[in-house]
Symmetry: D2
Subunit: 163 residues, 4 copies
């Protein structure tokens, strides 16, 4: 993103990944916004996606925390891909709406955004997400700094959209 | 943001700007995330802020639209600064929560994010925002692609926070 | 609703009402919750519905204001029927989600809930609503006490659902 | 609520209830809206409140489900009282905003609305709620039909408000 950006994160992938995981990773790789901010997919499971982002000036707000909009971008992607992972192979996913609550300032070196589908549907999927700061003081699951509630829509028969 | 990034936007400012506008611009200039994505403040008035962002790969989602999270980051900043413009000079602003609805895919060359305070308060300020694609087909006000409803909080007596 | 409930409100209807307005009124008449709380449709136009509710103990919260949930119920109905007014005659409407912000305590004798469609769609309709207290101090449009942002879905081919 | 309303629900309370639980029950008893619709507090714990509502025509929408606005009223009260249970004894609670997602039509004989505080604060408390239909097919925890994300505010030094 800028000169001070840390090297890109790399997470191991399974040698023989499921189709849905490949579709999620392919689509994520086409999200210029995720690449530009230095985000990486940390985990893909059926209905669950985790995205990691190291702190850098290019994702900060005015007090040196992760920018709330960047946190919401990560969670939006995590929830959208969690929904896509359960959709048919020819479907594309679009965000209908989301709400995000900022429980605490997101000050830390690494942010994890976890999205999961709480109610899948043929047309609409309801998702929930949480952004956590991992670390010793946060316990094994980290300290929650934001929660998201999102609605995703499955789009088909649109040759101009995929993933 | 990346090699293909367009030159930064520049908007004229008033020669003798009000104090609140200077505070908004100073704080915005410290938001690394806004700078990295190429966003610029287009207008500051009491209780109203407009931010402009040219399209680039670094702000795109997988179908080549503006990423929903980037749209929400712009609107979050626009609403936050709209609230800050009405706060005391020593206050800082933090986002409590927001909801964003995506009315249409945000495909275009330039995005304008407009935030305004609908109910100011000593502690909480309620804001609304809209993201529009300007252009001939969108009429003088542009075509709305997203709307936001946000709650901002005024923080004082925190020497570590300003703006 | 209870002994102290005021007599039901009655608003004039147009002698030759459009089909969509009749469908809205028919469906509203089947909403037991609206009837029980004493709510009445004040106005139906294409994409816009206004519902009125007089104050009574049966719609109050603990401080003697209109209960926030009751305000949200009115706005939910107003937004849902605004969406239904633009749907095909055989469609039913269901609420996907909504967010409501409480700008001020809703203390007054009468509450008006106005819903309107901001972006209609074949499947989803985006609506916005506002709850106002009419009166001399509120100006011709009244004083806003709450705003809603809602997503409605059009349901067809479900013989068990109508309106 | 009306002639067909079932007898009021009654849940056992602890013989020596904590102060916060008594404050919650006292305040709930003053919510005319809850009483009118036939709702009852099923459980109070520190930071958690459950409210139960039997189905009746007076809480129905047009298809015979629980009205979405009624579901939101229950969850609003459950979340608000969950927040109040952690507040100082002289505080009152008001809802700032909430978002509710309707995962499935709420068709059943009894609805349980559970609210809990996910992040308490001196001024703001973040809460989450879920509405479930209990029953054999829903498992021990019931079937979720709605989820809420809410922000509550603690109000003090307002002699006109309590609870």
């Amino acid at each position: 993103m800028d000169h001070a950006a840390p090297p890109p994160l790399a997470f191991p992938t399974q040698p023989e990944e499921a189709d849905f995981a490949r579709r999620v990773r392919d689509s994520f790789a086409r999200q210029g916004a995720m690449r530009a901010m230095g985000a990486a997919i940390a985990r893909v499971a059926a209905g669950e996606v985790e995205i990691a982002l190291p702190f850098a000036d290019g994702v900060a707000q005015q007090h040196g925390f992760f920018h709330g909009g960047i946190v919401s971008a990560l969670l939006d992607s995590a929830c959208g891909y969690a929904a896509l992972s359960l959709m048919p192979a020819d479907a594309a996913v679009l965000t209908v709406e989301f709400k995000i609550s900022f429980l605490a300032p997101a000050r830390g070196a690494l942010l994890l955004a976890r999205g999961r589908v709480v109610k899948p549907g043929r047309t609409l999927s309801f998702c929930e997400g949480e952004a956590v700061l991992p670390g010793p003081d946060g316990g094994p699951d980290g300290r929650r700094v934001a929660t998201m509630s999102a609605t995703m829509i499955c789009v088909r028969d649109r040759p101009d959209l995929r993933g």
